[in-house]
């Protein structure tokens, strides 16, 4: 059994464990993504929320370009986070408050390889969905693309 097989097994087992509490197929992916962005990159004063930059739409645009299997994994990742939280904390990820979500995700980062894989994958997805939007750049003092402006 390689690590990939193990990962899929772990995801599947996690889903089955929690299936009674949260049907895997009924997870609201957008809600999980926005809740994850709020926990991973909680906006400082003046910064937009994930919803305000329509991060869910950005996520969908991003995964549309991925190979079928990777797209499936990216969506499965969000679902696994929701049911995984339910299985380990008793509350769905989207129901936990921000501190609860952060603690849950930090636990994954500190965990065994498949758990780290989930947490790191989620962070990548959140970074793509959130930091791509120009409204998030103001707080970074990042001036964005140079095309259309004069050379430095």
């Amino acid at each position: 059994m390689n690590r990939r097989t193990f990962l899929f097994g772990a995801l599947g087992a996690g889903a089955l464990t929690a299936i009674g509490a949260v049907p895997f197929a009924l997870v609201d992916e957008d809600a999980v993504l926005l809740a994850a962005i709020d926990a991973i990159f909680p906006p400082l004063e003046g910064m937009p929320t994930g919803a305000e930059v329509d991060a869910a739409a950005a996520f969908r645009r991003y995964i549309a370009n991925l190979p079928t299997r990777t797209r499936f994994e990216a969506r499965g990742l969000l679902r696994a986070i929701e049911v995984g939280a339910a299985a380990t904390t008793g509350s769905r990820f989207t129901v936990l408050d921000r501190d609860g979500r952060t603690v849950f995700l930090e636990g994954l980062l500190d965990g065994v390889f498949p758990q780290r894989l989930l947490a790191n994958g989620l962070k990548q997805v959140c970074a793509v969905a959130y930091w791509q939007h120009p409204r998030t750049w103001t707080a970074l003092a990042y001036d964005g693309p140079l095309v259309g402006r004069s050379a430095p």
């Binding site: 690590r3 780290r116 791509q132």
Partner: protein, 491 residues
């Protein structure tokens, strides 16, 4: 609709290997067809936005990883291949390492044979040192830190012409200032009659009576086939192996796909009191080689500045929660470095039935120890350059503020995804060597088991190069192109 093409030689892939190979074959008067799976890009359409450019320039929209998902593997697609998005670093493989390749891999005379090809491609892509007045603060900080520590450091050479220093190199140059395969070699090949066909993904090399007869695959309008007297595979160190494996080519000693190296690297950030503006200007113009030697097993890590744009930086900075956002808010004040491994871990390429690569690779213990040493080195340079804190991307982030803390990093036990690693230099898979039982190709790139199939990309390298492979891939593309032309002209 099925399309059929006849030609003398078909080149699969248009990057640093395929470009010069096609150019040399066409200059020899052969009828050349270059097949590229990605699109032909007009640099004027490059938006410098990560969300736009990742899908356009990178395999799998930059989501490609090793099979276990632990290492991100960034590879290009489109006419010009990875030379469209790479950072233009040009460094020859050290002579000491070439001597090892000669001695231990049955490749006598390789160093002398390769030298003129290095010289030609360096001249054609106009390799030159980045002048000091173009070295950015992110890079100058590496020099300051290394100087303070008494460590070896120096400038790097690039292939740029007309560079305005926008700093968006990894998203493609909107100013077409990269002297890359798309700008230099492919136009030259076309000038000499070659046809470059984007949107054509090869799935199989066809054979008959012990010879390659061409390739088949999927094109813009459906299936296509190409019949040719010679086939050159330049589809990258993952793609070429995948095509060989999916084609079921003769491989009695099961060498295809073996010997993969990746040069994995982590990202160590330092926060400075004054703005660094790391995303502006020419990236990676200075290096530290204190811990890098081509053949010393205890010195196998290269330290070089690195930076990105908001999505990339948000992904690579350690940790989550309010502290992560606060670090992002320090964006202008962050300098970053990557310890890149001259890796001894050996992976392999497997293939799906339609020739998509599956990258099997796991870091060995020695490499993980070397990565810890590299993070120590990067942290010490950043501190010596004036960083108030250094961010170590282990699963539980470490914040380093003093040299004794940094020194302790060398003894930290690391593991998969701890820290997350990224790789931009796949090498090996169809390694060259003198013994067909231990290698796939000879020193001219000729596949041991077929008399008219050549490999012209990083697949050939029998070990990690320890330096960015771009220049060596150009040189081998040039060498293999000439060798294939000579063989085919004589038929």
């Amino acid at each position: 609709m099925s399309v059929h093409i006849d030609c003398d030689v078909v080149v699969v892939g248009s990057g640093a290997g395929g470009g010069p190979a096609a150019s040399e074959l066409a200059r020899a008067g052969l009828d050349v067809v270059v097949l590229e799976m990605g699109d032909k890009h007009d640099p004027k359409t490059f938006t410098q936005r990560e969300e736009d450019m990742f899908p356009r320039l990178f395999q799998d929209a930059a989501s490609r990883t090793t099979a276990d998902r632990s290492i991100q593997v960034l590879q290009g697609k489109g006419v010009g291949g990875s030379t469209v998005h790479n950072l233009n670093l040009c460094k020859r493989v050290d002579d000491e390492l070439l001597d090892v390749w000669e001695r231990e891999h049955g490749l006598p005379g390789l160093r002398m044979a390769l030298a003129p090809h290095y010289a030609v491609v360096e001249q054609r892509i106009e390799v030159s040192e980045v002048p000091w007045d173009r070295v950015t603060r992110n890079n100058r900080l590496l020099r300051v830190g290394a100087e303070a520590l008494g460590w070896k450091h120096g400038p790097l050479k690039h292939n740029r012409k007309g560079c305005i220093g926008s700093g968006f190199c990894e998203l493609g140059c909107a100013y077409d200032a990269k002297m890359n395969s798309a700008r230099v070699f492919l136009p030259d090949a076309e000038l000499h009659g070659a046809r470059v066909l984007p949107g054509h993904r090869v799935t199989r090399v066809t054979t008959a009576l012990g010879r390659a007869t061409g390739v088949v695959g999927e094109g813009p309008t459906g299936e296509f086939s190409v019949r040719a007297r010679g086939v050159v595979l330049s589809a990258s160190a993952t793609g070429s192996s995948a095509i060989v494996l999916a084609s079921g080519l003769p491989d009695p000693w099961r060498q295809a796909g073996r010997g993969l190296h990746l040069h994995p690297g982590a990202t160590v950030g330092g926060v400075f009191p004054d703005p660094v503006d790391g995303w502006k200007g020419i990236p990676q113009s200075w290096e530290c080689t204190e811990f890098l030697h081509p053949t010393d097993p205890d010195r196998r890590v290269w330290l070089v500045p690195v930076f990105g744009h908001p999505v990339g930086v948000g992904s690579m900075l350690p940790g989550i929660g309010a502290s992560a956002t606060k670090r992002m808010a320090s964006f202008r004040h962050i300098a970053a470095m990557t310890p890149m491994l001259h890796d001894t871990s050996v992976g392999r390429i497997e293939a799906t039935r339609d020739a998509r690569p599956i990258i099997q690779y796991q870091s060995n213990e020695a490499d993980l120890r070397m990565m810890a040493k590299g993070m120590m080195g990067a942290a010490r340079i950043l501190l010596a350059a004036g960083a108030t804190e250094v961010l170590i991307p282990t699963s539980r982030p470490r914040i380093i503020t003093a040299h004794d803390q940094a020194k302790a990093l060398a003894n930290v036990a690391l593991g998969p995804l701890d820290p997350p690693l990224a790789a931009v230099h796949p090498m090996g898979g169809l390694c060259m060597g003198g013994d067909p039982k231990r290698s796939s190709c000879d020193a001219t790139g000729l596949y041991h088991q077929l008399p008219n199939l050549w490999v012209a990309d990083g697949s050939l390298f029998p070990t990690s190069t320890g330096v960015p492979p771009q220049l060596s891939i150009y040189a081998f593309g040039h060498l293999v192109g000439q060798a294939a032309a000579a063989a085919l002209e004589n038929k």
